[in-house]
């Protein structure tokens, strides 16, 4: 397929009939496109239409007007479910199943042959760090473990597109790191990934492009550089004493500029977690 993996043109969708429930416009003319191998984040406050957009792309909701295409086809097209992984927000189905049974059950729904399903389920459980929890009931998993299991469910089949609605919500930093690393690796294999998140730091580190939704409209869209701009030039010095720093201030003033902010740099906690996780691995 040569076209975009996901394309949406002027999408409109409202909830409520206007009779018993007031009509609420969730999407008002959303347009976007996403190519293979791209990771794009949809950002926006609660109620901005992110989950509704994902439901349309997953084939759960029909738009009132506008056009949505996933891998060049209608999102409800038969056979697309195995090529489009979807992780909705909220709880997993079958809380009484074990983690492994849930994967097998969902693989059955997707039409994955039993032998292949068993192999893939074991691989995915290991990929999301849940190999040791394969026999644990879904209801007994922690929030983060359940979210990782949901991510594994989204990877069942042979997804070429991933729709992930807050995949790292409730995850600890190591869990988030695991999911984000997996996303980068999947994107490198050519999988198109659209994700909604409130974890802005993760988005900055993982996504090349973001789409800002507000009240059902695309408020801004573009690469992080384009959206955030380059701002002030930044220089980091190491090994200077107070006298050396004073001379730099003087130099800056002589060149017609100024040092506007000074401080001691401290490593981010996330970077610490990342380093520890890699050492552990």
């Amino acid at each position: 397929m040569d076209g975009p993996a996901i394309s949406v043109e002027d999408l409109h969708l409202s909830y409520g009939s206007g009779w018993l429930r007031p009509r609420l416009a969730a999407l008002r003319g959303v347009t976007l496109a996403l190519g293979a191998g791209e990771i794009v984040a949809v950002l926006g406050p609660n109620g901005s239409g992110k989950s509704t957009l994902f439901k349309v792309l997953a084939g759960i909701l029909d738009p009132e007007t506008g056009r949505a295409r996933v891998l060049g086809r209608d999102p409800r097209a038969p056979g697309l479910v195995t090529q489009v992984g979807y992780q909705p927000e909220g709880a997993l189905p079958y809380p009484h199943h074990t983690a492994l049974d849930l994967l097998l059950h969902m693989a059955h729904h997707l039409g994955v042959p039993p032998a292949a399903a068993r192999t893939q389920a074991a691989t995915l459980l290991a990929r999301v760090g849940l190999a040791s929890a394969a026999g644990r009931r879904v209801a007994a998993l922690s929030t983060g473990m359940a979210r990782r299991l949901g991510f594994a469910v989204a990877l069942l089949g042979t997804p070429r597109v991933l729709l992930l609605d807050e995949p790292t919500a409730g995850l600890d930093p190591l869990g988030s790191l695991l999911v984000m690393d997996a996303l980068r690796s999947l994107a490198a294999e050519g999988v198109a990934i659209l994700l909604a998140s409130h974890q802005l730091e993760e988005v900055e580190q993982t996504c090349a492009r973001v789409i800002l939704l507000h009240e059902g409209r695309v408020q801004a869209e573009g690469t992080l550089d384009a959206l955030l701009g380059t701002g002030d030039d930044l220089m980091v010095f190491r090994g200077l004493d107070a006298g050396g720093l004073a001379r730099i201030r003087d130099t800056a003033a002589a060149a017609g500029g100024a040092v506007v902010r000074e401080g001691r740099e401290r490593a981010h906690l996330f970077a610490l977690f990342r380093r520890l996780a890699r050492e552990d691995a």
């Binding site: 038969p78 709880a91 189905p93 079958y94 097998l104 969902m106 059955h108």
Partner: protein, 343 residues
């Protein structure tokens, strides 16, 4: 494993403690029967009717477990979004869930029925040994025997060997005359007439017949006293023993599948507009209404159990077909428009 099979296993596992509770309840009720007012008169018959209580409990629990096991049964359920996008064929979605739940219920109802018979026997209230029953229907439309209409010919509905005839008639009182027991005569081809006295309505009278052979036609003659009215159950031929009381009780309990199926059809129909909690509350309420209205074959099956009528002879299933057919049609109709909407 298919979704329906997984749900069947889930419901079967969940029903195990409910069945143990239902049997414990049945044991308590059966032990209580002899002290019921009137319990001394045919306590076995009263005991059979108590099967309704644990069966109701079991069916209601099975329906609640089915709703809980399948997130698409009930609007806005947690986890439903995962399944809502899947291209489930009609009998893979809510239909499979309902069938899975009903299959598990069937297995547990059979166990409940057999267990109930054992408990009743342990309490000294053995359920009647089942026998083959042959119903005799009056020829024509007349159903009253009186001095001015003294004779009725009754024909057997099926040709099966019988060894005994049981007569249970309604004795009618005539205004302005003193009450007198009805005196009747039963005639069968080649046999001398047998006199029968009916003192009160539905008092059973039994007449032994020689040998064990089909008697296609019997004649009842009014020989004095009060007039009597005959219904479909008034004259029955009783054949030899069939099966065991435990097997008969299991079949009677299985008749509860019919109201269970009707309510399951309702759950499938209502799933898109009703939340889970409300569905779980409506299911037992609807089941209770069906039980009170004696809709479906459950009441007739338990009556047959109390009566010692062998349920495996097959005349109960045709009676259940209309209600089962209506439930199945409702389910299919509910699922047809959802081939696209994934349910």
């Amino acid at each position: 494993m298919t979704p329906g099979a997984r749900i069947a296993l889930r419901v079967a596992r969940g029903l195990a403690p409910a069945n143990a509770l239902a049997l414990a309840l049945a044991a308590a009720l059966v032990a209580w029967v002899p002290v019921l007012p009137g319990g001394g008169e045919g306590p076995e018959r009263a005991a059979a009717w108590l099967l309704h209580v644990p069966a109701f409990l079991l069916v209601a629990t099975a329906l609640a477990l089915t709703v809980e096991a399948w997130p698409l049964l009930g609007r806005g359920r947690p986890g439903a979004l995962w399944l809502a996008r899947l291209p489930l064929r009609p009998w893979q979605g809510c239909g499979a869930a309902a069938l899975g739940g009903l299959a598990a219920l069937a297995a547990h109802l059979a166990v409940l029925g057999a267990g109930f018979a054992l408990l009743a026997a342990a309490a000294g209230l053995s359920l009647p040994q089942p026998r083959l029953h042959v119903a005799y229907a009056p020829e024509g439309t007349r159903t009253v025997l009186a001095a001015d209409r003294p004779e009725l010919v009754l024909r057997a509905r099926v040709a099966a060997p019988v060894t005994e005839v049981r007569l249970r008639v309604r004795v009618l009182s005539v205004p302005g005359t003193a009450y007198a027991p009805a005196r009747l005569e039963l005639r069968a081809a080649g046999l001398p007439a047998v006199a029968i006295e009916a003192r009160g309505s539905f008092e059973p009278a039994r007449v032994a017949l020689p040998g064990a052979r089909p008697w296609p036609e019997l004649t009842l003659r009014h020989a004095g006293g009060a007039p009597v009215h005959l219904d479909d159950d008034s004259l029955r031929g009783l054949g030899g023993p069939c099966g065991t009381a435990g097997a008969n009780a299991a079949l009677a309990a299985l008749a509860w599948l019919a109201p269970g199926t009707i309510v399951a059809a309702f759950l499938v129909l209502a799933r898109g507009v009703v939340a889970r909690g409300l569905l779980e509350a409506l299911a037992p309420a609807l089941l209770l209404l069906l039980a009170l209205a004696a809709a479906g074959p459950a009441a007739a099956a338990v009556e047959a159990l109390a009566d010692g009528r062998w349920l495996g002879s097959g005349d109960l299933l045709p009676a259940a077909l209309p209600s089962l057919g209506a439930a199945a049609s409702a389910m299919i109709l509910a699922l047809l428009p959802l081939a696209r909407n994934r349910g």
